[in-house]
C-alpha cells in the first residue's frame, strides 16, 4: 500500500457524462460572465435584456451541473462534509467583510478542491455560497454568479498538477493568489454593465469595439476593486502559506477516515457457507 494520503482522493465521482456537462457548462458560464466584451451591438432591443438573460442562463447552468453531479451520486459522507465545510466558509466570509482588505472566502475552497478532487471542489463552491446567502439573507441575482465563480475556483484547484511538499504549498499559494484576482475580475463584470452611470467614461458602452470595451473595463476594475482583489489574493497567499500544510494534513486525514472510495463488493451467498451472524457491515 502506498503512503497514506499520497493518492489523490475523489470524494465525489464524476462520471464521463458529468465531465462532458462540466466542460460545456464552463464554456457557457464564462460566456455569461464575459458577454459585455463579445456581444455584438443591436442584438437586443433594450440594454436591460442581456444581463437579465445571461443571469437566468447562468442560474440554469449551475442548477443543471449540480443536478448532474448529484445524479452521479453524492454519498452521505461527502454531503456531510460539504455541509460542514460550507458552514466553515460561511463563517469565514463575514469575518473578511468586516475587516478591510481581508477576503477569506476562497482559501478553504482551494485546499478542499485540492484534497477532495475537482467534483467536490465544484460542489463545495456551489454549496458554500448558497449556504452563506441563506444564512446572511443575501439571496439575489448575484448569487448564481458567485456560486459559479467559486465553483470554478474549487474545480480548477482539483485539477492542479500533482506534486508534494513545499512545491505543493508554493503551487497552492500561487493558485490562491491567481484565483483571488480572477474571481474579482469575473465578479465585477457581472455588475459593471449597469452599476456605473452610462454617462461616465468607464461604463459599459453597448456597441463599442472589443478593444474599447476591454479598455474601459480594465480602468473600471482598476479604479474600483483592484484594492479588494489584491487584499483577497494576499490573504489567500498568506493563509495558505501559514496554515496550508497543517490544513492539508487535516483534510487528508479526514478523507482517509471517510474512506470515500472504499470498494463495495457483493458476493453471492453460498448455501453451504456458515451463516454470518455479525450482520451487514456498517457503511
Amino acid at each position: 500500500m502506498s503512503r497514506p494520503g499520497l493518492r489523490p482522493v475523489t470524494a465525489i465521482r464524476l462520471p464521463a457524462r458529468s465531465v462532458a456537462a462540466l466542460c460545456v457548462a464552463t464554456v457557457i458560464g464564462l460566456v455569461c460572465f464575459l458577454w459585455p466584451f463579445v456581444l455584438p451591438p443591436n442584438r437586443f432591443g433594450t440594454s436591460y435584456t442581456p444581463p437579465l438573460m445571461f443571469g437566468v442562463l447562468l442560474l440554469l447552468v449551475v442548477a443543471v451541473v449540480f443536478a448532474g453531479i448529484a445524479e452521479g451520486g453524492i454519498d452521505s459522507k461527502a454531503l456531510a462534509m460539504l455541509g460542514v465545510l460550507s458552514a466553515v466558509n460561511a463563517g469565514l466570509r463575514p469575518l473578511g467583510a468586516g475587516t478591510a482588505g481581508i477576503e477569506t472566502e476562497l482559501f478553504v475552497l482551494v485546499l478542499a478542491g485540492r484534497v477532495f478532487g475537482p467534483g467536490f471542489g465544484f460542489a463545495l463552491g456551489c454549496t458554500s455560497l448558497f449556504a452563506s446567502a441563506i444564512i446572511t439573507g443575501g439571496v439575489g441575482p448575484w448569487m448564481p454568479y458567485q456560486m459559479f465563480g467559486c465553483a470554478l475556483v474549487g474545480l480548477f484547484a482539483g485539477l492542479l498538477p500533482r506534486c508534494r511538499g513545499r512545491a505543493e504549498i508554493a503551487l497552492l499559494m500561487a493558485y490562491g493568489a491567481f484565483a483571488g484576482y480572477a474571481y474579482g475580475f469575473l465578479l465585477n463584470l457581472q455588475f459593471w454593465p449597469f452599476a456605473v452611470d452610462p454617462g461616465s467614461s468607464l461604463s459599459y458602452h453597448p456597441g463599442a469595439s472589443f478593444a474599447q470595451q476591454w479598455h474601459r473595463y480594465l480602468l473600471f476594475d482598476g479604479a474600483t476593486s483592484l484594492g479588494w482583489d489584491t487584499g483577497r489574493a494576499v490573504t489567500n497567499l498568506v493563509v495558505i502559506g501559514l496554515v496550508g500544510p497543517a490544513m492539508l494534513a487535516t483534510f487528508r486525514r479526514a478523507a482517509r477516515r471517510a474512506a470515500f472510495e472504499a470498494p463495495a463488493t457483493f458476493e453471492p451467498a453460498l448455501s453451504a457457507a456458515p451463516v454470518d451472524r455479525r450482520g451487514p457491515a456498517p457503511g
Partner: protein, 390 residues
C-alpha cells in the same frame, strides 16, 4: 382558509406567509421600479417597502439583513455620483454647470477616458436618479430576503437539487456549533497559557476547529446513513439515462444558443430559439432527475387567500404601470431638459399603493417562540438537522 380569516374577536392567527408570495411581491415592485425613473415614484416604492417590512417582518436573523441592503443602496448612489463627477464625459451647452473639477489630460493610450472637467446639475441629477433606481431594485431584493423565511424556501428547491438544500441545512445547523467550537478551543488555549495573537494564533485555532468539524461531519454521515439517506426514489435505470441525456442535450443547446447570440453572422435559429430549446431540455432533465429522491413534507406551507391577495395586488400594480407607459411616458420618466420638479402621476401612484396593501392582507408574523435552541454538540446530529428544517 379558516386559519387566515379574522376570528370573531377581530384578531388574526399569526402565521408566516408563503415565501414564494413574498418573493413574487418584491419582484413585482422591482419590475415597477425598473419601469420608472421618476424619483417621487421610486421614493414611494421605498416607502412601501419600509412600511410593509415594519408591519410584517419577524425577529429572525435574516430579517435584520435589510439595513445592510439600505447601506449598500446608499453606497450605490454615492458611487454613481462620484463616478459621474470624476469620469464624466463633459457637459452640453444647455447644462447648468455647477462647478469645474480640474481637467487632467490623459496620455494617448488612455484615449476616450476623461478625468475631471465641468460638472453640471443635469449630469448629477441623472446619475442620482439612475442610482436611486438601482438602489430601489436592491432594496426590493433585500425586502424579499428579510420577509421570506429562507429555510422554508429551501424546500421549494426541485428534487434534483436536493443535495444542495441538504448541504445548506447542514451548514445552517452546524454554524452555531462551529462558533461554540471556536470558543471552546480558545478557552483550552488560554488554560494552556497560549498567548499568541493574530496570524500566529490562526493555526492553533483553525486546526482543532477543523478536526472538530470533520469529526462532526462523519457522525452526521453515519446518522444519515442509518436513517436511510441515499434511497433512490422512483428512478429507474432508464429514467436516469434519460435524465443525463436531457441535461447534456440541454447544455449543448444552451451552448449553441450562446454562440448564435454572440456571432452576428450565425443563422437566426441558433440564437434565442436554440436557447429556448436547450432551456426546455434542461428543465425537463431537472424535473425528471427529481424522481431520484422521494421527500415527505413536514408541515407544508399553505397557499391560501392572503398569499393570493399579496401576489395578486402586486401583479395588478405591475399591470397598471405597464398600462400607463403607453400614454403617460412623461410621468414615468420625466425629462431633465428643461429642469423641473417631477410630477406625481396618479395611476402609477395607485399601482404602487396597491402593493402596499400587503401590509394588511398578509397575516401577522408568528411571535418568536421560546423553543430551546438545539445546541448540544454531541447530541444526535440527525435530530438537530431535522429541527433546523422546521
Amino acid at each position: 382558509m379558516r386559519a387566515s380569516l379574522p376570528s370573531p374577536d377581530g384578531r388574526r392567527v399569526p402565521r408566516a406567509l408563503h415565501p414564494l408570495a413574498w418573493w413574487f411581491w418584491a419582484l413585482c415592485l422591482a419590475v415597477a421600479a425598473d419601469r420608472t425613473s421618476n424619483p417621487l415614484l421610486l421614493l414611494l416604492i421605498l416607502a412601501v417597502l419600509g412600511f410593509v417590512l415594519v408591519r410584517r417582518r419577524t425577529t429572525a436573523p435574516w430579517a435584520r439583513a435589510f439595513k445592510y441592503y439600505l447601506a449598500l443602496a446608499l453606497v450605490v448612489i454615492v458611487l454613481r455620483l462620484a463616478f459621474r463627477m470624476v469620469f464624466g464625459s463633459g457637459a452640453t451647452p444647455a447644462d447648468h454647470v455647477l462647478f469645474r473639477l480640474p481637467h487632467i489630460p490623459m496620455p494617448s493610450w488612455y484615449s476616450g477616458i476623461s478625468l475631471g472637467g465641468p460638472v453640471s446639475l443635469e449630469a448629477l441629477l441623472s446619475a442620482a436618479v439612475d442610482g436611486l433606481r438601482l438602489a430601489t431594485l436592491l432594496c426590493c431584493i433585500g425586502a424579499a430576503n428579510a420577509l421570506a423565511n429562507p429555510r422554508r424556501a429551501l424546500r421549494l428547491l426541485p428534487g434534483a437539487l436536493y443535495e444542495l438544500g441538504v448541504a445548506a441545512v447542514v451548514s445552517i445547523t452546524v454554524a452555531p456549533q462551529l462558533v461554540e467550537s471556536v470558543q471552546r478551543v480558545g478557552r483550552a488555549r488560554r488554560l494552556r497559557a497560549g498567548r499568541a495573537k493574530g496570524l500566529r494564533a490562526l493555526r492553533a485555532i483553525a486546526i482543532p476547529v477543523l478536526e472538530d468539524a470533520f469529526e462532526r461531519s462523519l457522525h452526521l454521515a453515519a446518522a444519515m446513513d442509518s436513517r436511510g439517506y441515499g434511497r433512490t426514489g422512483r428512478a429507474t435505470g432508464r429514467s436516469r439515462r434519460l435524465t443525463g441525456a436531457l441535461l447534456l442535450l440541454g447544455l449543448l443547446g444552451l451552448c449553441a444558443g450562446a454562440y448564435g447570440l454572440l456571432d452576428g453572422s450565425a443563422p437566426r435559429f441558433l440564437g434565442v430559439p436554440a436557447i429556448g430549446v436547450g432551456a426546455a431540455c434542461c428543465v425537463g432533465g431537472v424535473v425528471l432527475g427529481g424522481r431520484r429522491v422521494s421527500r415527505s413534507h413536514y408541515r407544508p406551507d399553505p397557499w391560501r387567500l392572503p398569499e393570493w391577495l399579496v401576489a395578486g395586488c402586486a401583479l395588478a400594480g405591475v399591470v397598471l404601470i405597464y398600462a400607463t407607459t403607453s400614454y403617460d411616458a412623461a410621468g414615468l420618466t420625466p425629462s431633465l431638459y428643461p429642469l423641473a420638479f417631477p410630477p406625481l402621476p396618479v395611476l402609477p401612484t395607485v399601482a404602487i399603493l396597491l402593493a402596499a396593501t400587503a401590509a394588511f392582507t398578509a397575516p401577522p408574523p408568528p411571535q418568536p417562540s421560546v423553543r430551546p435552541r438545539p445546541q448540544r454538540v454531541d447530541g444526535d446530529p440527525a435530530r438537530t438537522l431535522t429541527a433546523a428544517t422546521r
